[in-house]
Symmetry: D2
Subunit: 126 residues, 4 copies
Amino acid sequence: MTSREEKASRMFGCSERERALFEAGVKMGAVYHQFVGTPVSPYNVAELEKTIEHSVMVQPFVESASVNIKINMNDEKKDVYDYVSLKGEMIDAVIRIKVNGVSVTAEMRYLEELEYPLMYVSDVSQ
Amino acid sequence: MTSREEKASRMFGCSERERALFEAGVKMGAVYHQFVGTPVSPYNVAELEKTIEHSVMVQPFVESASVNIKINMNDEKKDVYDYVSLKGEMIDAVIRIKVNGVSVTAEMRYLEELEYPLMYVSDVSQ
Amino acid sequence: MTSREEKASRMFGCSERERALFEAGVKMGAVYHQFVGTPVSPYNVAELEKTIEHSVMVQPFVESASVNIKINMNDEKKDVYDYVSLKGEMIDAVIRIKVNGVSVTAEMRYLEELEYPLMYVSDVSQ
Amino acid sequence: MTSREEKASRMFGCSERERALFEAGVKMGAVYHQFVGTPVSPYNVAELEKTIEHSVMVQPFVESASVNIKINMNDEKKDVYDYVSLKGEMIDAVIRIKVNGVSVTAEMRYLEELEYPLMYVSDVSQ
């Protein structure tokens, strides 16, 4: 029987190495657009980081995912409005993808000099 | 000094009881539209439930939140595609709101006879 | 035959008036958590406003929806990074709900003095 | 003055061709995770398709975007519950990315034989 991965693989008109880069991009887009907007405070930030990491890990070809959210808030809650919505600018992420021996490391980081939360490929190795 | 809650409260053209119902609705809409689409499998489902609950808890006037996700999957992962995207139909939620002595219990549940994930108010008490 | 609305209605443990307030909250939570994060620039902002309005209009009991997004950007695109992700702070929304003769007007607006995008009920009438 | 694109470009530890593949993936992940969950019916489906396309177009390096949503509903609305939440399975998308002369075509399509909404690269050319 043909496995799902064999069927999926046939759809790709590019090399395995190129596919690994594409898969890395998909995961980065998912992190940003799934979770931006989530209510977050010191109370739930560590748990949210883990949840984002693990929601990446269940997707295909992910070796590891590390997410760090910078919310710059005091631990003591001032009032009921003292929380924020997750913004892309708060997210630092590193995701490692492996497709048939090709490893890609992708990162998301807010770059002050760009005023932009850049997603980029920091390493590809085979 | 006027607190943020006093300022917010003045914006409402309705009773405290009515506000409690509105707040309950806001939280239900947030659960659905923030998290539907999240990749989930037996590996991360329990953590995702907790994360949704706690993202509700950080919002104003929430007393408690309980989320149950039904994914109907085997624990053993068949292949890399063996996970799902969270759908509204999979979510059971119960959220309790309290605004100035008024308690509202709201629920979300997929109702087979409606073929619809209904959000409703199961109780209001004062 | 019992209509879906009759079946849904039976699930509610509150008055029609209270249900109208709950429904208003649901729609507000949906606007925020569905669309925050969407890439937006002067090129697509007017269309996005309409799309958010109409995604509210397809939901139950909505009479009207008006959305205004303030992005504070120049029409001329400086470079490929010259766009933003929709944030709650940018959204002004007015939604009118009607359930069995009860009309509720709910609004979302970023309030500088709260430093918070408040969702509130501005009017209830019967 | 160094442009934002020059600064961004320096962050990448891969070829331009590989970057184009990564960028294609990012856009696909964004389409899925931003818009899944949106309320949709025959009333707003054509507009939502355009809005998704244009939200892709405002992002960097996108040449074109084409989105088709299959909702399988009758034009006539039966009752207030007669709409759906956008699911990944309903989305057909084709996105064309161009980075420094490299063109990538990526597609998203629900494949019955995979029971999975696959995102894949259908073409890379230089």
